[in-house]
């Protein structure tokens, strides 16, 4: 059974059908790239899966359980974490604190715990910090040494990393990355490809990423799904999808030889 399974998912906004009967799935340990021209419905798809929008039709199942109607925090609890197209960190919190917030869904201490700091709370705080540091540590020396700096003081690439670290801290099984390569130079993109590979190899994540950068998609994805005007128009390996006529047309509007 697939880790994430989406069938016939449809979402309309007024007269516009942003997502139209989309089927797709992600298996354990898979990296799936989602491509398509602007406005194709990719981020909307993410928003639906993560509970920001409710679908008008269709099913979504994660680990066998239905995601329909769940609120975002419930989706996170189930094991799906995401990053955003425009990096959305908590700017006035430190690097470490940002990661620690990721652990919120796995912990329980409340008001009483906060005030009295009994042994259970303290143990939990230790665990939170540990897990957070562990997530930060995945990125080598880039984030951990700066754990107590404000997240807004990081470089752009590091902030992307922190966003991923925060998602990792939620102990997710599936990561949804929205245009992680945006704004990066070629070296950084190579690093990103390696990073995503490591996420799968070392930490067993299944990953779905929305990307416009074709080399990145090619180098990192096991499978690629292409969307256009809300509909899925291709699903297969990169080679298959890249040579798919409909995909080429969607991007270029005309018959064209693949050049990526």
């Amino acid at each position: 059974m697939s880790l994430l399974e989406v069938k016939g998912l449809t979402k309309r906004f007024g007269g516009l059908t942003a997502v139209d009967s989309v089927d797709f799935h992600v298996d354990q340990g898979e990296i799936v790239g989602v491509i398509g021209p602007n406005g194709a419905g990719k981020t909307t798809l993410f928003n639906i899966v993560t509970g920001f929008y409710d679908p008008d039709e269709g099913e979504m199942r994660f680990d066998g359980k239905s995601l329909v109607g769940l609120k975002p925090n419930q989706v996170t609890n189930m094991g799906i974490a995401r990053t955003f197209q425009a990096i959305r960190l908590f700017p006035a919190m430190t690097v470490l604190e940002n990661a620690m917030v990721g652990q919120h869904c796995r912990t329980r201490a409340g008001l009483i715990g906060a005030i009295f700091r009994g042994p259970r709370t303290r143990a939990e705080e230790r665990k939170i910090e540990e897990r957070a540091r562990d997530a930060l540590g995945f990125f080598g020396n880039r984030l951990l040494p700066r754990a107590d700096e404000l997240s807004s003081s990081l470089s752009y690439a590091d902030r992307r990393r922190l966003e991923i670290a925060r998602a990792m801290a939620t102990e997710a099984k599936l990561l949804l990355l929205d245009e992680p390569a945006a704004g990066m130079n070629p070296q950084e993109k190579e690093g990103l490809v390696r990073l995503i590979g490591r996420l799968r190899d070392e930490r067993n994540y299944a990953i779905v990423l929305i990307e416009h950068d074709m080399p990145v998609v090619k180098n990192v994805s096991d499978r690629v799904v292409a969307l256009d005007y809300g509909k899925k128009i291709a699903d297969g390996t990169y080679a298959e999808v890249a040579s798919n006529e409909r995909v080429i047309e969607a991007y270029l509007g005309a018959r064209h030889e693949e050049s990526a």
Partner: protein, 582 residues
């Protein structure tokens, strides 16, 4: 043409005009006449004259600041010509002020501007004719303007030392009602008086000189030597720093507890009020500073605390409950929490300013209902509820200001402790995350509903504690005490002090609540000054006096960003929850 030399005269005129209008404003609004009766330096200077002096000095100082064309480095100190321009600014200020006098002498303004009386005009002309006044104002203004610009000729540390010396002299002079009684009590023990420092309601001449020199020198040496101390402090390992910080805190607490021994009853009472507002500030700080919920009706919880206490403890209320404090306090807090949740529940989805207005509405509704004849059987209407018994604790009755002060201080410490613990906990992180980005926070598993309600409930509980003390302090409750000005007071003090920071709240409470009680002449103009301070703060230093580190950077970051798409319309519908569509 040299741009610098063109713009300086214009700036001089501009600053001079502003200063001049400020002087006129103070006179027209009645501050100047009130301030004439307050001594700054005995037999030398009173506060009314000081207004003129201060504004001219400020105009000169603002002008003296070295400016550079874009692209050039800003010089460290000014050219001697700056002094001349400073004089110009001061002269313009003086001239403007004199023009006002001229008009006021020839036109009867008093029927409209009630403060502009003939005696004021005479006083401001220093007993002379208009002609001599002109000379006095223009020359005096020029001199003061030059004096104000002069410090810019010095290097930075000396210059700041001068400014500090001046400021401290003013502050210590104005703090006379607070400091003199304390010093008297202390010095009496070593058989000294305070007349060398304070005399005639303000600083003595000798005292002024001493304060000026001392503060200037202390600042100067602190800055030169202090850096060494600071770096040594920073080099120490964490453990040691922690110990020193805790040690300092313990000393402070001990000092606070010792204070009533050297204070008069009046001062203990004032400090008690300050303490009440600190508690309120800490509570509102959680609602606004931590959770980001702009509550303008916070006075409602103060009222809830006071009225519950009154209902349960008054000897004169028709219900005649007369329960004990042991019972009343927890019940009051519980009621407040329930009401906090009731207020919070409907407003969960509202954005910033709308939330503010709704909470303001709730606060006003509560006040009007409580004040009405309709609710009089319960709340006593305009007469309020009287006869609230003071609690008995550890053998004494907490009626006198001194004893109440102890109770309040202890409460402040407890509430502060809770605040600190909350800010560093999972709950605090959740609130911060929610405040900074609600949607992402929710995605992280933070229940927005739950945490918003928790914030309201906590704020309510703390507010009600203050309310309990309020009722005890006065022995009665009146609806008119619970108006929007109180909410604004509390808001102002946490903003002034620095939102989200606990030392800031305490500092804010002292400045905004303590000082007006002490500076009688300012009493009439208290709200005026509040308003001006709020505006000035927001324009120049929105993070407050002692901001928490994160707040400052938050505000800087936010004002640099453009309004992003999902932020454009406050409170209106139809915005997408997540950024853009791809």
């Amino acid at each position: 043409m040299d741009r610098k030399s063109i713009s300086l005269p214009r700036l001089a005129v501009k600053f001079g005009l502003i200063a001049g209008f400020a002087i006129i404003y103070c006179a027209a609004v009645g501050m100047t006449s009130r301030f004439f009766s307050r001594t700054v330096i005995n037999e030398v200077l009173n506060l009314g004259d000081f207004l003129f002096i201060a504004f001219c000095l400020i105009a000169g100082y603002a002008l003296g600041k070295p400016r550079a064309l874009p692209g050039d480095a800003v010089p460290d100190r000014a050219q001697p010509t700056a002094v001349a321009y400073g004089a110009m600014a001061g002269a313009v200020a003086g001239l403007t002020a004199w023009l006002f006098l001229f008009i006021a002498s020839n036109v009867e303004l008093r029927s409209v501007l009630i403060s502009v009386t003939t005696s004021l005009v005479e006083r401001m002309s220093y007993g002379g004719s208009l002609g001599s006044a002109l000379l006095f104002y223009v020359v005096g203004g020029a001199f003061l303007g030059a004096l104000g610009a002069a410090p810019w000729l010095l290097e930075q540390r000396k210059r700041t030392a001068l400014v500090v010396a001046f400021a401290m002299t003013v502050v210590i002079s104005l703090s006379e009602p607070l400091l003199r009684p304390i010093l008297t009590t202390v010095l009496l023990k070593v058989r000294l008086t305070t007349s060398w420092l304070y005399f005639g309601g303000g600083l003595s001449r000798v005292g002024a000189i001493i304060v000026f020199l001392a503060s200037g020198l202390i600042y100067y040496f602190w800055k030169t030597r202090g850096e060494e101390v600071q770096s040594r402090f920073g080099d120490m390992p964490d453990q040691q720093r922690q110990i020193i910080k805790i040690g300092a805190l313990v000393l402070l607490v001990a000092f606070l507890l010792y204070l009533p021994a050297i204070l008069t009853s009046f001062l203990a009472e004032v400090l008690g009020t300050v303490g009440l507002y600190v508690i309120l500030g800490l509570g509102l700080n959680i609602v606004i500073g931590y959770a980001g919920l702009l509550d303008l009706g916070y006075v409602a919880f103060l009222a809830v605390g006071s009225y519950s206490t009154a209902l349960m403890l008054s000897t004169r209320h028709p219900w005649g409950l007369e329960w004990s404090y042991l019972l009343a306090v927890p019940i009051t807090i519980l009621i407040a929490i329930v009401i906090g949740i009731m207020i919070g529940a409907p407003v969960l989805r509202l954005r910033g300013d709308y939330l503010a207005i709704v909470t303001l509405g709730f606060g006003e509704i509560a006040r009007i209902v409580v004040l009405s004849d309709w609710a009089r059987p319960i709340f006593g209407g305009a007469q309020g509820i009287l006869g609230i018994r003071a609690p008995e604790l550890l053998g004494t009755t907490l009626r006198e200001p001194e004893k109440l002060y102890y109770a309040i201080v202890i409460c402040v410490l407890i509430v502060a402790f809770i605040s600190v613990r909350l800010s560093k906990s999972r709950v605090g992180r959740a609130w911060n995350a929610m405040r900074e980005d609600e949607q992402v926070a929710e995605a992280m598993g933070i229940s927005i509903i739950g945490y918003k309600l928790l914030a309201f409930a906590t704020g309510a509980a703390i507010g009600s504690i203050s309310g309990i003390f309020f009722a005890i302090k006065l022995g009665s409750v009146f609806a008119s005490s619970f108006n929007i000005i109180v909410s604004i007071n509390v808001l102002a003090l946490i903003i002034l002090g620095g939102m989200g920071s606990i030392p800031g709240v305490i500092a804010g409470a002292f400045v905004l609540v303590g000082l007006p009680d002490l500076l009688r002449e300012f009493a009439d103009f208290r709200l005026l000054i509040y308003g001006a301070i709020l505006v000035a703060l927001m324009l120049f230093k929105p993070e407050g006096l002692i901001p928490s580190r994160r707040r400052k950077l938050e505000l800087e970051a936010a004002s640099e960003e453009e309004d992003t798409q999902y932020d454009k319309r406050a409170g209106e519908g139809g915005t997408e929850p997540v950024v853009t569509t791809t």
